[in-house]
């Protein structure tokens, strides 16, 4: 009976998986296909391009606008991710490790921030940043990104820290480690999967943001790709930019895929099994 259920279950799950993957990937593939079509065949309704061209890619990398936006996107997302993950790690460590007054309040407030509708903050932020001279600068985007990514980071990370047996830290101290050494050499390697997971989530959040990016920027100086795409025109005003926009969309998904693939390996390595009696 067991054999039968496994083959049948496998089949069922296999079909289900295919459906989900197709459902999720068709639009992406369609965009990818559009990006390889020539302007003439763009609207032929065929899934597979009849004439392949790299013209669209050439176009977007020739325009300053896109390259500049790409640099902005990468820079802003990386910096925001780095800061949010470092701060989040420290906060989560404290939350899961220490009993300090106001701990519950801190967790509650950070939850509140995560739940706050971002739309309602856009106009006040716009005013504030203009007053402070942060409008249309990198920090002008990095700061709100950190604010909204931090609760996410704290939450995921404290879940990871809670799984690490604290006896390990005590053992390290008994073995002669300072608090810092215990954290660096024992706790941090075990927390790494959590840190990388959090980094991915935060990076994707920053990378995909459109709302803040469109309200808090006005020029190429700090405009990120999702926004830049909206301002995309072809080489001349009269050209249909659809192909170019699709090419840009493909280009901006690539860093995310790379980012995830790169960190995924680390997530799987390093598990806490065997530390304590299990």
């Amino acid at each position: 009976m067991a054999v039968e259920t496994t083959t049948r279950a496998k089949l069922r799950w296999g079909v289900l998986d295919v459906v989900v993957v197709v459902f999720a990937l068709v639009p992406v593939l369609w965009i990818a296909s559009l990006s390889f079509k020539t302007p003439a065949t763009l609207t032929d309704g065929k899934f597979w391009p009849r004439e392949w061209t790299l013209e669209n890619y050439r176009t977007i990398f020739d325009t300053d606008q896109f390259v500049r936006a790409l640099i902005n996107s990468i820079g802003i997302a990386l910096i925001a991710t780095a800061i949010a993950v470092v701060l989040g790690t420290m906060a989560a460590y404290a939350i899961s490790r220490l009993d300090f007054p106001g701990k519950k309040l801190l967790v509650g407030v950070s939850l509140l921030i995560a739940m706050f509708p971002q739309v309602s903050l856009v106009s006040p932020l716009f005013e504030i940043e203009r007053q402070l001279g942060l409008f249309d600068t990198w920090p002008g985007l990095i700061l709100p990104y950190i604010t909204f990514a931090l609760p996410l980071a704290i939450y995921t990370l404290s879940a990871f820290f809670k799984q690490i047996p604290w006896d390990l830290e005590k053992a390290a101290k008994m073995d002669g480690a300072t608090q810092g050494q215990a954290f660096r050499r024992v706790i941090a390697p075990l927390a790494a999967p959590g840190v990388f997971t959090t980094a991915i989530l935060v990076f994707i959040f920053c990378w995909n943001d459109f709302l803040f990016a469109i309200t808090l920027t006005s020029t190429e100086r700090s405009r990120t790709v999702p926004v830049a795409l909206q301002f995309f025109t072809g080489e001349s005003q009269f050209e249909d930019p659809t192909g170019a926009i699709c090419a840009a969309a493909v280009v901006i998904t690539v860093p995310i895929i790379l980012f995830v693939l790169f960190f995924q390996r680390r997530i799987v390595s390093g598990l806490t099994s065997g530390a304590v009696k299990g």
Partner: protein, 402 residues
Amino acid sequence: MADIVLDKVSKRFPDGTTAVQDVDLEIADGEFVILVGPSGCGKSTTLNMIAGLEDISSGELRIAGERVNDKAPRDRDIAMVFQSYALYPNMTVRENMAFPLRLAKMDKETINQKVEEAAKVLELTALLDRKPANLSGGQRQRVAMGRAIVRQPKAFLMDEPLSNLDAKLRVQMRTVVSRLQKQLGTTTVYVTHDQTEAMTLGDRVVIMRGGAVQQVGPPQELYDHPRNLFVAGFIGSPSMNFLHAKVEEGRLRTALGDVPIGERVRRELEAGDAPRELILGVRPEHFEDAALIDDETRARGVEFEAPVDIVESMGSDKYVYFTVEGERATAAELEELAADAGAADFAGAGSNLVTRLSAESPVREGENRRVWFNLEKIHLFDPGSGRNLTLHEGRSAGALAD
């Protein structure tokens, strides 16, 4: 190697719990001391204070004559073995054991040599390149010990190191621990829940209750001369039998009949605040089938007759359970002990009498049997304070002593 002195050490947690109260303890250089007591009595907290993992609220802790209250664990040069083993999962066995040495900045050669040496002692040589996840419970336990012994610390602290092992492995590891400690001669403080470990491993046993030390001494002394009701009930398996006893006309009225008392106990009972009701304590092995003893022995005790409940023949002797009528012995200590042992295991205060008779006794279940018990070995306790009234200058002399 060093001696460890606790001088009125107390621990109060921020939430107001007093986990350890005024503990005085002198542990000599090279001594093996066991801390026992029911769950929550402060054993781990005491150990953690010696380790430096918990702050000391008041009192003084000296290691090798030096006050170490404010020293970090790393500066105390003490190794600890945790109940959970606490092996670093991202390191191999070799790296685990080398970790304290690497932190001490020893050179590679020395580290390797010391790790190999420790691995040989603990029979871990073949496992040196494995990760903890790929080891059995007993092997992990040995790695944890190995990590403690490599750097030859001043003292070992062990918090229930064997409690996660199954019964057979525990017996095996017990001898490993014992042999290792004798071989190295390192001062050791060992926390346990286990009667057998407490009785067999240590030079001295410290019995704790509610954060306070009840009695300190060699295992046999605690067994023979318990200072109070708690110690008497805690040490011994099966535990001591406790019976209600009423003082009347210079005798004790008990469920086992009248018990005469000697001069010394009489004097104790003549004091103004002396209790009129006592608790009589008799260990199972101090009973004997009345048919099997000679007259000389008979004179040292009294006899009673009771219905036999259960007979368990152990080969070398017989455990015989009797039902006795009469008032139950009640005291806070007894309730605590029963709660800790699980009511089923602690027959001490019930109407059940546990006796250990000679294997030759023809006792059968269901019959009424005449049984004798030794008055020189019984203890009398004050139910209020728990004090052992038969104890004189640390020795218990039974009820008849003059």
